[in-house]
Symmetry: C3
Amino acid sequence: FLSYFSHKSSTNMRLRLPLLCIILEVILIILFGALVEYNDDTHAKLWNANKSHSATRDDYENEFYYRYPSFQDVHVMIFVGFGFLMTFLQRYGFSSVGFNFLIAAFSLQWATLMQGFFHGMHHGKIHVGVTSMINADFCTGSVLISFGAVLGKTSPVQLLVMAIFEVTLFAVNEFILLSMLGANDAGGSMTIHTFGAYFGLMVTRVLYRPNLDKSKHRNSSVYHSDLFAMIGTIYLWMFWPSFNSAITNYGDPQHRTALNTYYSLAACTLATFAFSALVNPEGKLDMVHIQNAALAGGVAVGTAGEMMLTPFGSMIVGFLAGTISVLGYKYLTPVLESKLKIQDTCGIHNLHGMPGVLGAVVGAVTSALASPGVYGDGLQRVFADAETGKWNPQSRGGFQAISLAVTLGMALFGGLVTGFILKLPIYGAPPDTHCFEDGLYWEVKTFQYHFYIYLRNTENVQLSQQICDSL
Amino acid sequence: FLSYFSHKSSTNMRLRLPLLCIILEVILIILFGALVEYNDDTHAKLWNANKSHSATRDDYENEFYYRYPSFQDVHVMIFVGFGFLMTFLQRYGFSSVGFNFLIAAFSLQWATLMQGFFHGMHHGKIHVGVTSMINADFCTGSVLISFGAVLGKTSPVQLLVMAIFEVTLFAVNEFILLSMLGANDAGGSMTIHTFGAYFGLMVTRVLYRPNLDKSKHRNSSVYHSDLFAMIGTIYLWMFWPSFNSAITNYGDPQHRTALNTYYSLAACTLATFAFSALVNPEGKLDMVHIQNAALAGGVAVGTAGEMMLTPFGSMIVGFLAGTISVLGYKYLTPVLESKLKIQDTCGIHNLHGMPGVLGAVVGAVTSALASPGVYGDGLQRVFADAETGKWNPQSRGGFQAISLAVTLGMALFGGLVTGFILKLPIYGAPPDTHCFEDGLYWEVKTFQYHFYIYLRNTENVQLSQQICDSL
Amino acid sequence: FLSYFSHKSSTNMRLRLPLLCIILEVILIILFGALVEYNDDTHAKLWNANKSHSATRDDYENEFYYRYPSFQDVHVMIFVGFGFLMTFLQRYGFSSVGFNFLIAAFSLQWATLMQGFFHGMHHGKIHVGVTSMINADFCTGSVLISFGAVLGKTSPVQLLVMAIFEVTLFAVNEFILLSMLGANDAGGSMTIHTFGAYFGLMVTRVLYRPNLDKSKHRNSSVYHSDLFAMIGTIYLWMFWPSFNSAITNYGDPQHRTALNTYYSLAACTLATFAFSALVNPEGKLDMVHIQNAALAGGVAVGTAGEMMLTPFGSMIVGFLAGTISVLGYKYLTPVLESKLKIQDTCGIHNLHGMPGVLGAVVGAVTSALASPGVYGDGLQRVFADAETGKWNPQSRGGFQAISLAVTLGMALFGGLVTGFILKLPIYGAPPDTHCFEDGLYWEVKTFQYHFYIYLRNTENVQLSQQICDSL
């Protein structure tokens, strides 16, 4: 039995995956039973008890009506956006959508516990509602970013183990930034994108495969796989305004965040097309850039989006983000692989890493420039400590910069440790010759089979048989 | 002319389909003209007339703002979710999405009339608004579940005829459950899933084709068709919280239903991956399970979702639902086909049948365990007759159980009758040799044609011609 | 350098596209910096300053919560709906989704400026918020309709230049209709669909290619490209109720518009299936009809949708729209091409042109029939000048008819001028032999390459080599 797990060349999931899934889910169920309770807006008894208005209006004031549409947009980004964005590989579509589905379904449960634990227990209980659902999806997004770096080179068991550690560290980092340093980061330029990217890059560095070029012929797209990936891209792009604004304060901050993100993304898209054509000798556009770099504008206003960045500022940030992202894909990714041994399948450094850092810097600068003259009474709806009167924009900007440094440190350290844990030869990781291949973990019919089926439908049975026999 | 319809081998739709569509739509238009009116929230005159608050606030209180986002999520599930989930078949994608589109567009109109008729006329008129739109989409969902059982084996004319009967019986069953028995079933574990599943299973039983294995080679997926199907799966999964909560009472019940469904689905997904790998000799995951069983968690909290099921309870139910669904696909479906002659193309028994019954049982138990101590003032927002003071949880649980029995009876009886009606040789049903084949009802270019086009683009014209000639 | 641009046969985008994108975006950023400001609902300072209610409720009253869900639905239609609808061509999927993405991202920025300029500056500034976002997306929709006419025959540079002119004229026409003539057109039957269609048809007329049949073999669909296109169709269909209702007045008008559109589309779908089968000799359904004509019902209630059209009236309009749209595809499009030299790739005349004119006529008639007896106090929520007391339904109907005439004139004139500008041989347009071909502007791997990859995975290396060598 032990030999099953330690047999390095085996990628058989028959025991590994069921065991891990069932154990994890049983632990989750027990912890939820012990710790999780409905919050005031979801509890039958507490909802009315704390209200003093007339019954009819009360029900309309439930936070459900003001957060749930944002939640659903975020949910689409996590499951369709990330899932389909990664289907660009020619023979890894089942794993891209499927493992994305699995680790997201696990991570959102685990994140509910971890974030609930750090964000404040209520008499020893974690309170859940639509806001905790959004936060759990956010944390999940961070894990999926890291998934992009190791895509095609990991077993589902490895991915679940990675999620366990990454969610935990995410919650710690988020607690330090938001609760201890009082940082602003509504759209997660730091907590989600920078953290997820550098965590994933460190993991893939530790898991470096010198012989990965044995699977090189599968590490690229085909025509239809690129179209499936565009489904992911477009959904991420469209709903990013909802993502960045999903947990801001109500009123003008939420509205403004959506607007800023909308303009940043639009400007980013033009920059992406411009530089994609410019860096190609024949002036041809590259789907990799369009699929990814056009999204960098959303990442880069993840911190400053709720501030008075103005559409003007948002467009500049978006344009910059698209530019560095395309240039990163073209010039930096090959260097990272050859010099630093970082094999980054989806190029998350270009989509989440650099734009995330840019977003953190923009957030720090915009914080430092904030003033009551510009924000009026709205200052405290954006900067929580403006209410206390001890508010100082320059020190706020400083704390934002410190937050970025903390995030980078946590991500790199966490990725390092997690990478070494994932290196243990017990998870059924794919061999170098069979990376980027669905057939290892999924029941897949081969092309030959498909060809046979098509030919069977022809009249010329004899020829079909000949061709198929030879294939 | 009569011979056209009775010529059994003809699958020509040139007269059949236009005649039926036009007659049905004309009848619908006449009945809508005679019976359907805007309700208070959609009528220009009545909207303001019944309000006493200030004009500004009034307009924000329109139910549109509290129901429409849920409606749109449900709408996506009906048209994209169901439609693309069924595209998994290799040569039946046009029919899956297309017939889904057709029968849904018909059913939602017919359902508006049937549900309006049973749910209470207002001075002889049916009142419509966003709630009736959601209810019509719900009823449509039931028809689409049944469509899954007969997928690939029926003509569009048969499907429309099935929809006429199924929608009617759905409305009767719904009326008995909700109005006469006072049952709770906001997410439709009974009214939608159990009813749709057993109705469809009985129809496909009556339409049993002993020689269906002549089309066996088309009754399976190919690589890209499985990816299209995952679009359906993921949309159903993401929006199921909106589905179950779409017509609950406002406030905490709606919020809680969405939350419970979210957790149930997450737990269900882990169970699905676990058991899919476990039942495969090589430990490989099966797309059929992931596409379908991962959704069973939504079905199984369709009744109890609005109750104080707790996240803990929801996760247990979801985990159970995923487990029985995978086991059903693996072990029960083959037996149903070989022993009971039930050819269930999509395995609706595993996704909607068993999880629906589980959901009904969970609903009955949760109802029986309800108490004012747990629900406080919220009791009457979940259990309508708690307001009357004559509320008794045990008898409520009993009525829930009776509702399940009634639903099963109505579905089996209705499916039996409808099945025999669909057996008449006048609808242009496909022959056994051409099931699961778009080419019968759609203009489809063949693979050979595609191959020819691709080869034409090559330089070697001579070889292309040779190969294409021989194909 | 100049020879690069004037070398007619070159389709190289290396300088053209980056230059144009960067110049346009820099101009946009400068103009946004000079002219654009947050409106009252998005500005930190102004939001609270103008409110007198209690702080808590204020934030819930932000227009964000009442418009943003509609905005997101419209956004999905623009980027997924239009983008994927046009992927039906076998080798033009990258361009369809990609160029749609590019010109939409540009147009929404440019439209914000143009519409802001005409719809009323505030002390020399353009105010932006969720309503301006919806309006910008609407204007973008118009450009994408025109894109459908020239699909496959234009370079991305041409498309951007077209967008510059079309957005500008759209804003002028919209200003004349809505502000000067006081027309109703919430869903844009005239401003969006009629304008976009006839503008595009005129452009494609001027760009007539007598030798387009050299690319004939690529101007059709393949199996999977038709399924991708159905993603676009279904999203457009589902969210059209949100489109038509997105900028109506709050309350009953918005609710009613969504309801009317829902029924119009349902009836349209049955008409589409009926006539698609009827016009085919073998009674087979045509994906072109299902993909397009089923949407005509949404176009045709774009003006009257907010009025008391009743579900009965909506269904009649939808049924008519579907009918004329299918008949247009079957009988009119070939004539337009052979007699009038209008090469309309997507058949926008059938989906947007004729149904748009029908919608304008229905709107004029419904306006002329409006009365206080039917609308009560709601009259002024639909017809703005009913508030002034000088309201006259017959003259309203007349102004609606004049609006249609103005729109047709503006569209045809604008398309004519823009067409001649696009005819200049400097944009890198595709040659007649390479229309409908992604390979001109995108890095695309050929079928042969894919075939080689698949064969490489087979055991029989020798045979693979032979076949691939010969291909």
